[in-house]
């Protein structure tokens, strides 16, 4: 269970990196398409203009990150990692906040800036959680006082 926790935590961090990569690719593919005279609107988006696949992947893959976060929380109940449940909750909350920011960005693009920055928080929390599960809980060495 400890390994599963660790793998899931690292996987979530990797998924965040993949999400960032998808958006980077999509924005430049779209930019280049417009530079070459293409028109980008809702119809172009739906009919496979360059970059749209990556945008759609980004939206769908968010669901996979959420599922991984939920799975990590469930695994944490059984993994006996000190504060493991707490950190799994942090990851889940960061994921939900991140998805909510992504959805709200459709209402106001300014929130999109927060969405981009909050990805780093999720990445960081996931890596921290993975680090906590690095090795079995250290057994405290009994401290023996030296008698002078």
């Amino acid at each position: 269970m400890r390994t599963a926790y660790r793998v899931l935590a690292f996987a979530i961090a990797a998924m965040v990196a993949i999400q960032a990569g998808a958006i980077g690719y999509a924005v430049f593919a779209q930019f280049n398409w417009i530079e070459e005279g293409g028109t980008f609107d809702k119809a172009a988006f739906d009919t496979g203009a360059p970059g749209t696949g990556a945008f759609m992947f980004h939206a769908l893959f968010a669901g996979a990150v959420l599922l991984a976060s939920l799975a990590m929380l469930i695994v944490s109940f059984f993994a006996k990692i000190p504060q493991g449940v707490r950190w799994a909750l942090f990851v889940l909350i960061a994921t939900i906040v991140q998805i909510a920011l992504g959805v709200l960005s459709h209402l106001w693009a300014g929130i999109g800036a927060l969405h981009g920055a909050a990805a780093l928080v999720l990445f960081g929390v996931a890596v921290m959680a993975a680090m906590r599960a690095r090795k079995p809980a250290a057994v405290e060495e009994p401290v023996t006082a030296e008698v002078a």
Partner: protein, 487 residues
Amino acid sequence: MASRTSARVRLIVSLVAALAILAPLAWLWQASLVPNSYSVMGMGHLDYGGGLVANHDHESTARSINDIVVDPARKADVRVDLVAEQQNLSIGGKSVPGYTLNGTSPGPMITAQQGQLIEVHLRNASVKAGIALHWHGVDVPAAMDGVAGVTQDEVPIGGEFTYRFVATQVGTYWYHSHQVSNEQVIGGLFGTLVVLPNAGRGEAVDVIAAAHTYGGMKTINGVTGDVRVPAKPGQQVRVRVINTDNGPIETWADTPFQVLATDGYAVNGPTDVTDHSMTVTAGGRADLGVTMPSDGKPVRVQVSKGTAVILGSGDPAAPPQPRTSLDLLSYGTPTMLSFDPAKANRRFDYSIGRRPGFVRGQPGLWWSINGHLYPDVPMYVVREGDIVIMHIDNHSGQLHPMHLHGHHAVVLSRNGVAATGSPWWIDSLNVLEDETYDIAFLADNPGIWLDHCHHLKHAAQGMVAHLMYEGVSTPYKVGGTANNRPE
């Protein structure tokens, strides 16, 4: 001993916590599943809009939708044969997977005079998923509406279907597949239909401009770039813009233009539009009127940023896009309606939202109608002769082009502001985020009709409700052996 007990307690607490997460998810998942085959009549919950509650004994006494046809003995005035094929299209020098009707996309333009009976014989030569043809904006008899699984079975390869309807309303329309429509319409399975007044064309030059995006490439009538149409100085021109895409387009010109008609209905008292664009929503049509300048200069009508219709000879530069679009709420002059919305006896809500959940077993962020996800959507029930008001509000974060089959509705108000211009008739309405509309229509066309988002991917994601007339039933089912997949 104590540690074993505490380990056991810990395990139980862990299991309960895991169940507390998994059980509601599993319940929501199974509740969202739909059977392999189902009738839309049994979908969701009945909504009578405050009107009379019908006695729904559909199976025994109801009239079948198959019987709602034009007089079979009447001879057709306009006959068209259409053969549908699935094949690659050549668009702007590139090969794009798609569909054709009689070898082309768009398919042939069908033209009829008002009052003529149109008979279209459809044969599916090679469209694997099957097809069905819907006459978008034409208030056809219910059996001819061309929705697979609701008004007919999909037409499989080798299959045939004959559509017969009377062209009662002059105007600009289009037809498209309503089987797996989100793939087939995008892939080009559509064509145009124009109904002319018996007195003939009102303008010397009459142009069809069907906008469609194939593989990301903007086209008019299937051709990339600009469309050139000869026109002489002083001539009146009608440009019939048809938006066959999933998103709205803006149209504007480098000379004053008038909006002569929307969705097949003439605008009363149109005036010159100079510093606004005209929004044509997905599935919608706008007839733009232009008078050619007397000095012989050409006119450029932009159909979105990427394409244009150039009237006359020359190479006019693209005019900048106006920053605001024309508000049809106050355009033109008022006139009498054919019915009185103040006498409405049914009021429905069509509230569009978005929330996390499961649709057909898939987790996601889905469109909701009145707070519920597909298939738990309203079934609006009316009786023939009812006057219906529908209140549409959109708080889903995205724009939705709402399309009601079989009827035309008039816009009464937007965001609570009453319409003051010409009656604004629609069959496809651009509803922006945070907007509300009150529309009214006369229930004068018995049948079972889709009322859905014409962003066809949204429809496929479950943004579909139905309008059902009391006493009408359909033998067709979504799914099943015919594999009907209307969206």
